[in-house]
């Protein structure tokens, strides 16, 4: 089985921060995909830390174009491969900024054309590469440099955009969410996309030590807590099959997750504490909606 071999397609020496969740996601994704893959990346953390000139960390063919058009570039690559009758998986690896905000139009077009491309979004819930600006993937109540918490505000006022639901609305063949804290699950889902012809969307939850404000050794622990509290539901929807949801036996209160992170520090005491209760309500809703 593909998961058993320990092939490493992301070379050491890349410049991700110590404890980077996105780098862990990349290694797991590439391990599941194997060498016969062409990767297109939008601008973002991954693009920046893997590709200083002459010092690429990629060991598969990789192309970077602009922030907004990774799905369009991948469409071109896939069309060319199809014309040449060559079989390689074409994969877009893009951050939440390049998926939820800037590249959403191009991604929607790619889904509409029903092209055989896997779109993987590593979701670190803000624009980390440029200095933690809020994106539409930033969760409710979280403090970033553009949604700062203070006397006048409790952090981000809007809720997180439900991107997998938007992908599902395009009637794509496979939609899944995953987390780096559950590597077997993530690699199984990524490997599955190789068997399905058509557009696929996977959203991977990747904690960020700098942007979220926790110790670099806690990346996986935080990722686990996000799933165990019900804030980040893990599921997959294959066309024509019922939704499969990762069940959590002992659910934890969301405070367990919030208290480790500086971006939620303002919710721990004082008058903004009721915002934490509202985040708990989001978790409860997720648990009910997905049957976690």
């Amino acid at each position: 089985m593909v998961l058993a071999e320990r092939e490493n397609l992301l070379a050491a020496g890349h410049r991700a921060c110590p404890g980077c969740g996105a780098a862990i996601a990349l290694r797991q994704i590439l391990r599941a995909l194997g060498r016969d893959t062409i990767v297109v990346s939008a601008t973002g953390c991954v693009e920046t830390f893997t590709s200083p000139y002459g010092m690429s960390a990629w060991e598969v063919p990789w192309i970077h174009s602009l922030f907004e058009n990774s799905a369009s570039v991948a469409s071109g690559v896939q069309a060319a491969l199809e014309f040449l009758q060559e079989k390689s998986s074409v994969v877009v690896i893009s951050g939440d900024g390049g998926t939820f905000d800037i590249g959403m139009g191009a991604m929607s077009g790619m889904f509409e054309r029903k092209q055989n491309i896997t779109y993987i979004c590593y979701d670190n819930e803000a624009y980390m590469n440029t200095g933690v600006q809020g994106s539409s993937a930033t969760p409710y109540g979280s403090s970033t440099t553009t949604t700062p918490a203070g006397r006048a505000s409790f952090g981000k006022i809007q809720h997180k955009k439900d991107m997998p639901a938007i992908a599902l609305a395009h009637d794509v063949d496979y939609v899944a969410t995953a987390s780096i804290a559950y590597p077997q699950d993530l690699m199984k889902k990524v490997a599955k996309t190789k068997e399905i012809y058509g557009p696929k969307y996977i959203q991977v939850h990747t904690p960020c030590t700098i942007g979220w404000g926790f110790d670099s050794s806690k990346t996986i622990e935080i990722g686990k807590l996000a799933v165990e509290t019900g804030l980040v539901p893990i599921y997959e929807v294959e066309k024509g099959k019922p939704m499969v949801v990762k069940k959590v036996k002992n659910k934890k209160p969301v405070m367990e997750y919030l208290k480790f992170q500086n971006r939620y520090r303002h919710l721990l005491k004082g008058e903004q504490k009721d915002i934490a209760d509202q985040i708990q309500a989001i978790c409860d809703k997720n648990i009910e909606r997905f049957g976690i």
Partner: protein, 81 residues
């Protein structure tokens, strides 16, 4: 439009090990299960002969391996240079 092509794995010429403050050290509890290898963001752990081997040229010392090891086989020590 400007394009550029460069060779694969050129990043190996940049030794990120110099960033490290704390150094992971492997003790005898290690049975080579590979959890640390799966979670290492810097691709600097390999499993050989049921033992994990850390490449200190590239290890940034994040401490994920020590935190996730179920057998407490990796301990972080402050690095003195």
């Amino acid at each position: 439009m400007i394009g550029a092509v460069c060779k694969a794995a050129g990043s190996l010429q940049y030794k990120t090990g110099t960033w490290r403050d704390n150094r992971p050290e492997v003790n005898d509890n290690c049975n080579g299960c590979g959890i640390c290898e799966t979670f290492c963001p810097d691709s600097c752990i390999t499993i050989e002969n049921k033992k994990c081997i850390i490449d200190y040229d590239y290890c940034k010392g994040c401490g994920i391996c020590a935190n996730e090891c179920v057998r407490k086989a990796i301990v972080m020590r402050e690095e003195r240079k």
